[in-house]
Amino acid sequence: MHSETKNAIYLLLDILDSMSKSAGDSTKLIKIDQNTLHLIKNDLFSVISQPDRLFENIIEEKKNLIGILPYVLMDKNKFPSNENIVKLAEKSLNISVPNWKNRSRNEIIGIIISNIAEMDNNKDLSSFIYPWKSFISDRNVQLNLNSSDFVDLWLKYFDNYKNNQ
Protein backbone atom coordinates (compact mmCIF):
# COMPACT_ATOMS: atom_id res chain seq x y z
CA MET A 1 0.00 0.00 0.00
CA HIS A 2 1.23 3.52 -0.80
CA SER A 3 1.95 5.67 2.26
CA GLU A 4 -0.49 8.27 0.87
CA THR A 5 -3.29 5.66 0.94
CA LYS A 6 -2.39 4.64 4.47
CA ASN A 7 -2.40 8.27 5.61
CA ALA A 8 -5.79 8.78 3.94
CA ILE A 9 -7.19 5.82 5.88
CA TYR A 10 -5.80 7.24 9.12
CA LEU A 11 -7.34 10.60 8.27
CA LEU A 12 -10.68 8.86 7.73
CA LEU A 13 -10.28 7.19 11.13
CA ASP A 14 -9.52 10.58 12.71
CA ILE A 15 -12.71 11.99 11.17
CA LEU A 16 -14.75 9.02 12.37
CA ASP A 17 -13.38 9.50 15.89
CA SER A 18 -14.22 13.21 15.86
CA MET A 19 -17.74 12.47 14.63
CA SER A 20 -18.12 9.79 17.28
CA LYS A 21 -17.07 12.24 20.02
CA SER A 22 -19.43 14.95 18.82
CA ALA A 23 -22.26 12.40 18.60
CA GLY A 24 -22.68 12.92 22.33
CA ASP A 25 -23.44 16.59 21.77
CA SER A 26 -27.01 17.77 21.68
CA THR A 27 -26.63 18.75 18.02
CA LYS A 28 -26.06 15.08 16.98
CA LEU A 29 -25.45 15.84 13.33
CA ILE A 30 -24.42 12.26 12.68
CA LYS A 31 -25.06 9.42 15.06
CA ILE A 32 -22.39 6.71 15.16
CA ASP A 33 -22.96 3.49 16.99
CA GLN A 34 -19.81 2.47 18.91
CA ASN A 35 -20.03 -1.18 17.89
CA THR A 36 -20.32 -0.21 14.24
CA LEU A 37 -17.37 2.14 14.68
CA HIS A 38 -15.22 -0.68 16.10
CA LEU A 39 -16.26 -2.94 13.24
CA ILE A 40 -15.27 -0.31 10.67
CA LYS A 41 -12.00 0.32 12.49
CA ASN A 42 -11.12 -3.37 12.58
CA ASP A 43 -11.73 -3.65 8.84
CA LEU A 44 -9.66 -0.56 8.07
CA PHE A 45 -6.81 -1.72 10.28
CA SER A 46 -6.80 -5.07 8.55
CA VAL A 47 -6.44 -3.22 5.23
CA ILE A 48 -3.57 -1.15 6.66
CA SER A 49 -1.78 -4.31 7.77
CA GLN A 50 -1.81 -5.76 4.26
CA PRO A 51 1.57 -4.40 3.08
CA ASP A 52 3.22 -6.50 5.73
CA ARG A 53 1.52 -9.62 4.42
CA LEU A 54 2.85 -8.59 1.02
CA PHE A 55 6.32 -8.46 2.57
CA GLU A 56 5.92 -12.04 3.81
CA ASN A 57 4.82 -13.09 0.33
CA ILE A 58 7.85 -11.45 -1.22
CA ILE A 59 10.21 -13.47 0.97
CA GLU A 60 8.45 -16.68 -0.15
CA GLU A 61 8.36 -15.54 -3.78
CA LYS A 62 12.05 -14.70 -3.61
CA LYS A 63 12.84 -18.26 -2.54
CA ASN A 64 10.74 -19.63 -5.39
CA LEU A 65 12.39 -17.30 -7.90
CA ILE A 66 15.88 -18.37 -6.80
CA GLY A 67 14.80 -21.98 -7.33
CA ILE A 68 13.22 -21.58 -10.76
CA LEU A 69 15.18 -18.78 -12.46
CA PRO A 70 18.44 -20.70 -13.15
CA TYR A 71 16.37 -23.33 -15.02
CA VAL A 72 14.68 -20.63 -17.13
CA LEU A 73 17.89 -18.75 -17.85
CA MET A 74 19.67 -21.93 -18.98
CA ASP A 75 17.10 -22.37 -21.77
CA LYS A 76 18.83 -21.50 -25.03
CA ASN A 77 15.53 -21.23 -26.87
CA LYS A 78 14.47 -18.34 -24.69
CA PHE A 79 17.95 -16.91 -24.22
CA PRO A 80 19.98 -17.70 -27.32
CA SER A 81 22.90 -15.55 -26.17
CA ASN A 82 24.39 -14.47 -22.86
CA GLU A 83 23.54 -10.92 -23.83
CA ASN A 84 19.82 -11.79 -23.57
CA ILE A 85 20.30 -12.90 -19.97
CA VAL A 86 22.28 -9.77 -19.05
CA LYS A 87 19.64 -7.60 -20.71
CA LEU A 88 16.85 -9.17 -18.62
CA ALA A 89 18.87 -8.76 -15.41
CA GLU A 90 19.85 -5.14 -16.06
CA LYS A 91 16.54 -3.86 -17.31
CA SER A 92 14.08 -5.65 -15.07
CA LEU A 93 16.05 -6.57 -11.95
CA ASN A 94 18.48 -3.66 -11.81
CA ILE A 95 21.35 -6.16 -11.55
CA SER A 96 24.48 -5.58 -13.58
CA VAL A 97 26.96 -8.35 -14.44
CA PRO A 98 30.53 -6.97 -14.65
CA ASN A 99 32.65 -8.24 -17.55
CA TRP A 100 29.82 -10.43 -18.77
CA LYS A 101 31.41 -10.82 -22.20
CA ASN A 102 34.30 -12.73 -20.60
CA ARG A 103 32.08 -14.95 -18.47
CA SER A 104 30.41 -18.27 -19.09
CA ARG A 105 26.61 -18.59 -19.09
CA ASN A 106 26.80 -20.45 -15.77
CA GLU A 107 28.88 -17.71 -14.19
CA ILE A 108 26.45 -15.02 -15.36
CA ILE A 109 23.47 -16.93 -14.00
CA GLY A 110 25.32 -17.51 -10.72
CA ILE A 111 26.03 -13.79 -10.32
CA ILE A 112 22.38 -12.88 -11.01
CA ILE A 113 21.04 -15.46 -8.56
CA SER A 114 23.51 -14.37 -5.84
CA ASN A 115 22.41 -10.78 -6.34
CA ILE A 116 18.76 -11.75 -6.01
CA ALA A 117 19.53 -13.74 -2.85
CA GLU A 118 21.24 -10.73 -1.28
CA MET A 119 18.66 -8.23 -2.48
CA ASP A 120 17.00 -6.60 0.52
CA ASN A 121 15.15 -3.97 -1.46
CA ASN A 122 11.72 -5.57 -1.53
CA LYS A 123 10.38 -2.84 -3.77
CA ASP A 124 12.80 -3.78 -6.58
CA LEU A 125 12.05 -7.44 -6.08
CA SER A 126 8.26 -7.10 -5.99
CA SER A 127 8.34 -4.87 -9.10
CA PHE A 128 9.92 -7.84 -10.88
CA ILE A 129 8.18 -10.82 -9.30
CA TYR A 130 4.55 -9.84 -9.81
CA PRO A 131 4.76 -8.94 -13.53
CA TRP A 132 7.05 -11.96 -14.06
CA LYS A 133 4.46 -14.36 -12.59
CA SER A 134 1.74 -12.69 -14.61
CA PHE A 135 3.90 -12.86 -17.77
CA ILE A 136 4.67 -16.55 -17.37
CA SER A 137 1.00 -17.43 -16.86
CA ASP A 138 -0.28 -15.18 -19.67
CA ARG A 139 -1.82 -17.33 -22.43
CA ASN A 140 -0.55 -15.10 -25.23
CA VAL A 141 2.92 -15.31 -23.81
CA GLN A 142 2.66 -19.09 -23.51
CA LEU A 143 2.20 -19.30 -27.26
CA ASN A 144 5.46 -17.42 -27.79
CA LEU A 145 7.48 -18.85 -24.93
CA ASN A 146 10.02 -20.45 -27.18
CA SER A 147 10.39 -17.54 -29.49
CA SER A 148 13.85 -16.06 -29.86
CA ASP A 149 12.59 -12.63 -28.91
CA PHE A 150 11.52 -13.87 -25.48
CA VAL A 151 13.48 -11.17 -23.63
CA ASP A 152 12.08 -8.35 -25.76
CA LEU A 153 8.59 -9.75 -25.26
CA TRP A 154 9.18 -9.82 -21.50
CA LEU A 155 10.64 -6.31 -21.36
CA LYS A 156 7.68 -4.94 -23.32
CA TYR A 157 5.32 -6.73 -20.93
CA PHE A 158 7.32 -5.48 -17.92
CA ASP A 159 7.18 -1.84 -19.09
CA ASN A 160 3.43 -2.06 -19.76
CA TYR A 161 2.86 -3.56 -16.33
CA LYS A 162 4.87 -0.81 -14.64
CA ASN A 163 3.06 1.93 -16.56
CA ASN A 164 -0.33 0.53 -15.62
CA GLN A 165 0.45 0.45 -11.88
Partner: protein, 277 residues
Protein backbone atom coordinates in the same frame (compact mmCIF):
# COMPACT_ATOMS: atom_id res chain seq x y z
CA UNK B 1 12.17 3.13 7.53
CA UNK B 2 11.17 2.40 11.09
CA UNK B 3 9.49 4.93 13.32
CA UNK B 4 11.19 5.13 16.72
CA UNK B 5 8.98 5.70 19.76
CA UNK B 6 10.06 6.03 23.40
CA UNK B 7 7.74 5.14 26.24
CA UNK B 8 8.60 7.56 29.00
CA UNK B 9 7.48 8.83 32.37
CA UNK B 10 9.60 10.14 35.21
CA UNK B 11 7.47 8.17 37.67
CA UNK B 12 8.00 4.44 38.13
CA UNK B 13 5.20 1.89 38.22
CA UNK B 14 2.96 3.67 35.70
CA UNK B 15 3.03 0.86 33.15
CA UNK B 16 5.79 1.88 30.75
CA UNK B 17 7.00 -1.68 30.43
CA UNK B 18 3.54 -3.29 30.40
CA UNK B 19 2.40 -0.97 27.62
CA UNK B 20 5.60 -0.90 25.56
CA UNK B 21 5.93 -4.70 25.61
CA UNK B 22 2.26 -5.41 24.96
CA UNK B 23 1.77 -2.78 22.27
CA UNK B 24 4.93 -4.09 20.59
CA UNK B 25 3.80 -7.70 20.77
CA UNK B 26 0.27 -6.84 19.57
CA UNK B 27 1.61 -4.82 16.64
CA UNK B 28 3.61 -7.86 15.55
CA UNK B 29 1.04 -10.57 16.31
CA UNK B 30 -2.22 -8.91 15.28
CA UNK B 31 -1.09 -6.36 12.69
CA UNK B 32 1.92 -8.04 11.08
CA UNK B 33 4.30 -5.18 11.90
CA UNK B 34 8.02 -5.87 12.27
CA UNK B 35 8.80 -4.66 15.78
CA UNK B 36 12.05 -4.15 17.68
CA UNK B 37 11.72 -3.46 21.41
CA UNK B 38 14.78 -1.89 23.03
CA UNK B 39 15.04 -2.04 26.80
CA UNK B 40 16.99 1.10 27.79
CA UNK B 41 16.30 0.77 31.50
CA UNK B 42 19.09 -0.79 33.63
CA UNK B 43 16.34 -2.21 35.86
CA UNK B 44 15.77 -4.67 32.96
CA UNK B 45 11.99 -4.89 33.37
CA UNK B 46 11.18 -5.30 29.67
CA UNK B 47 14.05 -7.81 29.41
CA UNK B 48 12.59 -9.94 32.20
CA UNK B 49 9.07 -9.53 30.79
CA UNK B 50 10.03 -10.90 27.39
CA UNK B 51 12.96 -13.29 27.79
CA UNK B 52 13.21 -16.70 29.38
CA UNK B 53 14.96 -16.84 32.75
CA UNK B 54 18.03 -18.66 31.42
CA UNK B 55 18.51 -16.01 28.74
CA UNK B 56 18.28 -13.25 31.34
CA UNK B 57 21.11 -14.92 33.29
CA UNK B 58 23.10 -15.33 30.09
CA UNK B 59 22.74 -11.58 29.42
CA UNK B 60 23.73 -10.76 32.98
CA UNK B 61 26.91 -12.81 32.45
CA UNK B 62 27.64 -11.26 29.07
CA UNK B 63 26.46 -7.62 28.93
CA UNK B 64 27.58 -7.36 25.30
CA UNK B 65 24.42 -9.31 24.43
CA UNK B 66 22.40 -6.31 25.57
CA UNK B 67 22.13 -2.59 24.80
CA UNK B 68 25.39 -2.34 26.78
CA UNK B 69 27.15 -3.87 23.76
CA UNK B 70 25.88 -1.02 21.58
CA UNK B 71 26.66 1.80 23.99
CA UNK B 72 29.98 0.67 25.46
CA UNK B 73 32.61 2.94 23.94
CA UNK B 74 35.39 2.45 26.43
CA UNK B 75 38.85 2.12 24.95
CA UNK B 76 39.80 -1.54 24.55
CA UNK B 77 42.53 -2.76 26.86
CA UNK B 78 46.07 -3.04 25.46
CA UNK B 79 46.51 -6.30 23.64
CA UNK B 80 42.84 -6.65 22.92
CA UNK B 81 41.73 -6.24 19.32
CA UNK B 82 40.44 -2.78 18.49
CA UNK B 83 36.79 -2.50 17.57
CA UNK B 84 37.45 -1.93 13.88
CA UNK B 85 39.74 -4.93 13.68
CA UNK B 86 37.16 -7.27 15.11
CA UNK B 87 34.70 -6.34 12.42
CA UNK B 88 33.43 -9.89 12.26
CA UNK B 89 32.24 -9.66 15.87
CA UNK B 90 28.86 -8.19 15.08
CA UNK B 91 26.48 -7.14 17.82
CA UNK B 92 24.53 -10.26 18.78
CA UNK B 93 22.09 -8.82 21.27
CA UNK B 94 18.89 -8.98 19.22
CA UNK B 95 16.63 -11.76 20.52
CA UNK B 96 13.79 -13.11 18.42
CA UNK B 97 10.68 -13.61 20.54
CA UNK B 98 8.49 -14.33 17.51
CA UNK B 99 9.09 -13.93 13.79
CA UNK B 100 8.29 -10.25 13.93
CA UNK B 101 8.84 -9.28 17.54
CA UNK B 102 12.49 -8.87 18.47
CA UNK B 103 14.11 -7.54 21.64
CA UNK B 104 17.38 -5.86 22.54
CA UNK B 105 17.61 -6.47 26.29
CA UNK B 106 19.13 -4.23 28.91
CA UNK B 107 21.79 -4.92 31.49
CA UNK B 108 22.37 -3.55 34.96
CA UNK B 109 25.96 -2.74 33.97
CA UNK B 110 24.59 0.05 31.77
CA UNK B 111 25.09 2.17 34.88
CA UNK B 112 28.89 1.81 34.52
CA UNK B 113 28.92 3.65 31.20
CA UNK B 114 29.41 7.37 30.79
CA UNK B 115 26.64 7.83 28.27
CA UNK B 116 26.84 11.62 28.38
CA UNK B 117 29.97 11.38 26.19
CA UNK B 118 28.06 10.01 23.22
CA UNK B 119 24.38 10.86 23.56
CA UNK B 120 23.58 9.96 19.93
CA UNK B 121 25.13 6.51 20.00
CA UNK B 122 21.83 4.62 20.10
CA UNK B 123 20.40 6.85 17.39
CA UNK B 124 23.42 6.07 15.17
CA UNK B 125 23.16 2.33 15.84
CA UNK B 126 19.49 2.36 14.86
CA UNK B 127 20.11 4.42 11.72
CA UNK B 128 23.07 2.34 10.54
CA UNK B 129 21.95 -1.14 11.52
CA UNK B 130 18.28 -1.81 12.14
CA UNK B 131 16.21 1.03 10.70
CA UNK B 132 15.31 -0.71 7.45
CA UNK B 133 14.56 -4.08 9.05
CA UNK B 134 11.61 -2.94 11.17
CA UNK B 135 8.37 -1.00 10.84
CA UNK B 136 8.59 0.27 14.37
CA UNK B 137 11.20 0.46 17.10
CA UNK B 138 9.91 0.89 20.66
CA UNK B 139 12.23 2.03 23.44
CA UNK B 140 11.28 1.32 27.05
CA UNK B 141 12.94 4.24 28.89
CA UNK B 142 13.99 4.43 32.52
CA UNK B 143 11.89 6.45 35.00
CA UNK B 144 14.62 8.99 35.67
CA UNK B 145 16.11 12.16 34.30
CA UNK B 146 19.39 10.57 33.33
CA UNK B 147 21.77 9.97 30.46
CA UNK B 148 19.96 6.64 29.75
CA UNK B 149 16.73 8.52 29.22
CA UNK B 150 18.55 11.10 27.09
CA UNK B 151 19.97 8.48 24.72
CA UNK B 152 16.53 6.87 24.38
CA UNK B 153 14.78 10.14 23.56
CA UNK B 154 17.59 11.35 21.30
CA UNK B 155 17.17 8.15 19.28
CA UNK B 156 13.40 8.68 18.96
CA UNK B 157 11.12 10.70 16.72
CA UNK B 158 8.10 10.22 18.96
CA UNK B 159 7.25 9.52 22.58
CA UNK B 160 4.34 8.10 24.51
CA UNK B 161 3.56 8.91 28.13
CA UNK B 162 1.96 6.03 30.03
CA UNK B 163 0.49 7.18 33.34
CA UNK B 164 -1.71 5.98 36.15
CA UNK B 165 -4.67 8.00 37.33
CA UNK B 166 -3.24 9.26 40.58
CA UNK B 167 -2.28 12.76 41.66
CA UNK B 168 1.47 12.10 41.75
CA UNK B 169 1.43 10.98 38.12
CA UNK B 170 -0.38 14.16 37.22
CA UNK B 171 2.30 16.26 38.94
CA UNK B 172 4.89 14.37 36.88
CA UNK B 173 3.41 15.49 33.55
CA UNK B 174 4.61 19.13 33.59
CA UNK B 175 8.03 17.96 34.85
CA UNK B 176 8.28 15.59 31.88
CA UNK B 177 7.15 18.36 29.53
CA UNK B 178 9.86 20.69 30.81
CA UNK B 179 12.53 17.98 30.57
CA UNK B 180 11.64 17.13 26.97
CA UNK B 181 11.43 20.78 26.00
CA UNK B 182 14.95 21.39 27.39
CA UNK B 183 16.28 18.29 25.63
CA UNK B 184 14.81 19.41 22.30
CA UNK B 185 16.42 22.83 22.68
CA UNK B 186 19.79 21.56 23.86
CA UNK B 187 20.20 18.98 21.08
CA UNK B 188 18.05 20.62 18.38
CA UNK B 189 15.97 17.50 17.70
CA UNK B 190 12.40 16.87 16.57
CA UNK B 191 10.48 14.88 19.15
CA UNK B 192 6.72 14.65 18.94
CA UNK B 193 4.29 13.43 21.58
CA UNK B 194 2.04 10.70 20.18
CA UNK B 195 -0.06 10.51 23.28
CA UNK B 196 -0.79 9.94 26.92
CA UNK B 197 -2.12 6.47 27.77
CA UNK B 198 -3.92 5.94 31.03
CA UNK B 199 -3.05 2.66 32.71
CA UNK B 200 -4.47 0.61 35.61
CA UNK B 201 -7.79 2.34 35.08
CA UNK B 202 -10.74 1.81 37.40
CA UNK B 203 -13.47 4.08 36.06
CA UNK B 204 -15.46 3.82 39.30
CA UNK B 205 -12.80 5.63 41.33
CA UNK B 206 -13.30 9.33 42.01
CA UNK B 207 -9.54 9.85 41.68
CA UNK B 208 -9.72 8.51 38.11
CA UNK B 209 -12.43 10.99 37.23
CA UNK B 210 -10.58 13.89 38.94
CA UNK B 211 -7.26 13.17 37.25
CA UNK B 212 -8.87 12.66 33.86
CA UNK B 213 -10.77 15.93 34.17
CA UNK B 214 -7.52 17.72 34.96
CA UNK B 215 -5.88 16.23 31.88
CA UNK B 216 -8.85 17.14 29.70
CA UNK B 217 -8.80 20.69 31.06
CA UNK B 218 -5.43 21.37 29.46
CA UNK B 219 -5.75 21.69 25.67
CA UNK B 220 -2.36 20.22 24.74
CA UNK B 221 -2.93 17.19 26.97
CA UNK B 222 -6.53 16.71 25.87
CA UNK B 223 -5.45 16.62 22.22
CA UNK B 224 -3.11 13.69 22.75
CA UNK B 225 -4.95 11.73 25.44
CA UNK B 226 -5.80 8.22 24.20
CA UNK B 227 -9.52 7.40 24.07
CA UNK B 228 -8.64 3.82 24.99
CA UNK B 229 -7.25 3.09 28.46
CA UNK B 230 -5.71 -0.06 29.89
CA UNK B 231 -7.97 -1.46 32.58
CA UNK B 232 -6.80 -2.39 36.08
CA UNK B 233 -6.82 -6.21 36.15
CA UNK B 234 -4.76 -8.39 38.46
CA UNK B 235 -4.52 -10.91 35.63
CA UNK B 236 -2.01 -8.66 33.82
CA UNK B 237 0.38 -8.68 36.79
CA UNK B 238 -0.12 -12.38 37.43
CA UNK B 239 0.92 -13.19 33.87
CA UNK B 240 4.41 -12.10 34.75
CA UNK B 241 5.36 -15.56 35.99
CA UNK B 242 8.28 -17.60 34.72
CA UNK B 243 6.21 -20.52 33.48
CA UNK B 244 4.06 -18.16 31.41
CA UNK B 245 7.16 -16.35 30.09
CA UNK B 246 8.71 -19.67 29.09
CA UNK B 247 5.60 -20.42 27.03
CA UNK B 248 5.27 -16.86 25.63
CA UNK B 249 1.90 -16.64 27.42
CA UNK B 250 2.67 -13.50 29.43
CA UNK B 251 1.34 -11.04 26.85
CA UNK B 252 -2.12 -9.53 27.32
CA UNK B 253 -3.50 -10.88 24.05
CA UNK B 254 -2.43 -14.40 25.10
CA UNK B 255 -4.25 -14.36 28.46
CA UNK B 256 -7.46 -15.95 27.16
CA UNK B 257 -9.43 -12.96 28.34
CA UNK B 258 -11.47 -11.38 25.59
CA UNK B 259 -12.09 -8.12 27.42
CA UNK B 260 -8.37 -7.50 27.96
CA UNK B 261 -7.50 -8.72 24.47
CA UNK B 262 -9.90 -6.22 22.87
CA UNK B 263 -8.62 -3.58 25.29
CA UNK B 264 -4.97 -3.88 24.20
CA UNK B 265 -5.91 -4.29 20.53
CA UNK B 266 -7.83 -1.00 20.61
CA UNK B 267 -4.98 0.76 22.40
CA UNK B 268 -2.60 -0.60 19.75
CA UNK B 269 -4.91 0.52 16.94
CA UNK B 270 -5.03 4.00 18.44
CA UNK B 271 -1.23 3.95 18.77
CA UNK B 272 -0.98 3.09 15.04
CA UNK B 273 -3.49 5.76 14.14
CA UNK B 274 -1.86 8.53 16.19
CA UNK B 275 1.66 7.56 15.09
CA UNK B 276 0.64 6.88 11.44
CA UNK B 277 2.40 3.54 11.70
Amino acid sequence: MAKVVSFINMKGGVGKTTLSVNIGYTLAKEFGKRVLLIDADPQMNATQYTLHEDLVYEILDDPNKSIFGILDNRTPLPGVLHRDERGSQKFNGIFQITNKFHVIPSNIRLMELNLALSPFKLRKYIKDNVNSSYDIIIIDSPPTISSYTNIALLASQYYIVPMTTDYLSLVGLPILEAYISNLKQEFAIDLTAIGIILNKVDTQLKMYQDVKQKILAKTEWRQILFNNELLERTMIGRAFLQEKINANQQYIIELNNDELKQNIIRITQEFMQKGRI
